[in-house]
């Protein structure tokens, strides 16, 4: 059809269409704590966006000064009206105000130009660099991809953290829970994983989304700063709903984050999303639900809190090739109280995720950092995605460490140990050291493989325990300087073949000779 015909048709329709479209409206009858009761709006649907009409009765000039439209979100449908949450400043809403329905479900903007930006739970830029342009609206609530559209997890998501990549490997499209008490290094694991994506080739580097929920603004600002300084911000989006934001926005933020991620997944990209943390989101949802007068259940959480988290985490998946092959990997974080993983929210989220890594205060305080308890942490689907090179060297470590922990406990009672036991303990202690890693220092896969291989080959047995980390570091630096090709080959093929092993064996000998002082023992 040619464009003039189209124009004519549109003109014709416009002539016959009723000139004035009525909007469905309601009236605010009560307002408080971020929630409003509205009379009317009988046609409203759940999660519909409402607009508060602030300009009524105000002079034009006054209305022009308003800071953008004020939105609400329908959360309860009632007999004579609805209850909605205010997506903004409660003080702007007054009793008697007219509320307009929009017929639209809440959506957030997303797009390439959002990369490197900090946005709020509505997708609006809050980093002072002006609005984000060229965006596409993505629905905040969306049905997760069905079984037929999914593919199993086969591509690794490298965290750059030895203890994880070796023992609890994560695959792209997986949901791996990070759980632990306050201050056990949960956020650090997540941020280091984002930093490590710099080691990935640009073409397949995951887009990273960090959703900060109920965090101190200063903490999030520091994280943004760190990502910027390290060059990780250009592939990262930060969605920030700080502790000072209304409960509604803290509840929404993870959904906004995943909606922003789905834009990239739909384009065949891999996405990594971090929810830091879902305990705080649950608390915000509980607060909101009490204000909405929904009946409280266990631990005063509303009955649908399980559904809240399951429908969020369901949206992490790997799509089939027909659907573009994109993925969303989710790393939700849960904060426990005194290690209690049997509380309501932890048990819920544990049951929804594909694996869990437990961070333990005792280990953290003992200096075992990252404080991951590798004995109880699991990654049910990730091992299918682990690279062959890593699988080859990491195979025996879990068992070795488990035996070592047992012997270590036993050692406290026994005074004289036979040589074999003493050796095992010495070796276990050194493997524990090899797996330690400072925050902010993710290591690429090939170096991890080389370091763990060296550990397996007992390179560090001649080194005092407290110097293992340091020696390991200088060994990998040595490889960097003298065995670049070998490292590059491991990285490229994902394999660690006999040829490579021979080279690393050779490197170990050279290293020992060159650094006699380290192996004095």
């Amino acid at each position: 059809m040619d464009s003039t015909t189209i124009e004519k048709i549109i003109k014709e329709i416009e002539q016959h269409a009723p000139a004035h479209e009525g909007q469905h409206v309601g009236r605010v009858v009560a307002v408080g704590d971020g929630v409003v009761a509205i009379d009317g709006l009988s046609k409203a649907v759940m999660s519909e966006v409402l607009v508060f009409e602030e300009s009524k009765g105000k002079k034009l000039a006054e209305s022009m000064e308003a800071e953008g439209e004020l939105y609400g979100l329908v959360l309860n449908l009632e007999e004579d009206g609805v209850r909605a949450t205010i997506l903004g400043d409660t003080a702007r809403v007054a009793e008697g105000m007219t509320v307009k329905s929009t017929g639209k479900i809440l959506s957030v903007p997303s797009g390439e130009e959002m990369l490197g930006r900090v946005v709020n739970a509505l997708g609006e830029a809050i980093d002072g660099k002006g609005p984000v342009r060229n965006t596409t609206l993505m629905p905040v609530e969306r049905q997760a991809a069905g079984v037929i559209d999914r593919k199993s997890v086969t591509v690794p998501l490298q965290t750059g953290i030895k203890a994880i990549d070796a023992l609890i490997p994560i695959g792209r499209g997986q949901r791996e829970l990070i759980i632990g008490d306050r201050g056990t290094g949960k956020t650090t694991v997540a941020i280091d994983t984002i930093l490590n994506q710099l080691n990935e080739p640009e073409a397949t580097r995951p887009i990273c989304i960090y959703v900060a929920i109920g965090q101190k603004e200063s903490k999030t600002a520091r994280i943004a700063q760190q990502l910027r300084e390290r060059g990780a911000l250009p592939y990262t989006i930060i969605v920030d709903a700080p502790a000072s934001a209304p409960a509604a926005l803290q509840y929404l933020a993870p959904f906004s984050g995943v909606a922003i991620g789905e834009y990239f997944m739909d384009k065949g990209k891999d996405v990594l999303i971090i929810y830091d943390d879902l305990s705080k989101q649950a608390v915000a949802y509980r607060e909101l639900s009490l204000l909405l007068r929904r009946p409280p259940g266990r631990e005063a959480y509303p009955g649908d809190i399980f559904y809240l988290h399951s429908r969020l985490l369901e949206r992490a998946c790997r799509l089939s090739e027909e659907k573009g092959g994109g993925s969303i990997t989710a790393l939700p974080i849960i904060e426990t109280q005194e290690g209690d993983i049997s509380a309501y929210i932890p048990t819920n989220v544990i049951s929804i995720t594909d694996g869990q890594m437990f961070l333990i205060t005792d280990l953290f305080n003992k200096g075992i950092r990252p404080a991951i308890d590798v004995g109880i942490s699991v990654s049910r689907v990730g091992s299918a995605a682990q690279t062959k090179a890593m699988k080859g060297v990491a195979g025996g470590i879990k068992l070795e460490l488990a035996q070592f922990r047992e012997l270590e406990a036993f050692m406290q009672f026994a005074s004289d140990l036979d040589k074999e036991t003493a050796d095992r303990i010495a070796s276990g202690q050194r493997m524990e050291e090899v797996l330690k890693q400072k925050n902010g220092e993710p290591i690429p896969l090939e170096k991890q493989v080389a370091a763990i291989y060296a550990g397996n080959q007992k390179l560090f047995m001649g080194v005092p325990v407290n110097r293992v980390t340091e020696v390991e570091r200088s060994f990998t630096d040595f490889l960097d300087a003298n065995y670049k090709d070998t490292l590059a080959a491991i990285k490229k093929t994902g394999q660690f073949n006999d040829e490579d092993k021979k080279k690393i064996n050779h490197a170990m000998e050279e290293f020992k000779l060159a650094h006699k002082e380290l192996f004095a023992q």
């Binding site: 009723p18 004035h20 409206v25 009379d39 709006l41 300009s55 009765g57 034009l60 209305s63 022009m64």
Partner: protein, 128 residues
């Protein structure tokens, strides 16, 4: 609680019960269940229902000045017809802040043809 009683009272009278009879039945019931002191609150809730019910059929035409009335009235009538809204009483109110044009509000609908809205829309698009 008072909401439920007030709704019941409203429905009784609406369904044809004589109002004095309905009230005495309500009071008897309250006394029996020991809730006599709820009565004032039921009264308030009843007023709210009455206001809401009245608003259901009330549509107000808002204009900037009396001079606009005739033209606005005709346009509003047309708009209401187009939307299939049957209005018994169309009240008129003057609100100079709408600058010009007209606005229909009530019965759960809003038609805003005011100059203020057009100007605001234009302004907001321009500064975006």
């Amino acid at each position: 609680m008072e909401q439920t009683y007030a709704t019941a009272l409203w429905k009784l009278v609406e369904n044809g019960m004589e109002y004095r009879e309905a009230i005495s039945a309500l009071r008897e019931n309250l006394a029996k269940t020991g809730r006599g002191n709820l009565l004032p609150r039921i009264g308030k809730a009843f007023e709210r229902i009455a206001a809401r019910e009245a608003a259901k059929n009330d549509v107000t035409l808002i204009i900037a000045s009396e001079a606009d009335e005739k033209k606005a009235h005709a346009a509003a009538k047309k708009a209401l017809e187009a939307m299939n809204v049957d209005v018994k009483h169309l009240k008129t109110r003057i609100d100079p802040t709408i600058v010009g044009g007209w606005r229909l509000e009530g019965a759960g609908i809003l038609v805003d043809e005011s100059y203020k809205k057009s100007l605001l829309d234009m302004y907001n698009r321009a500064i975006q």
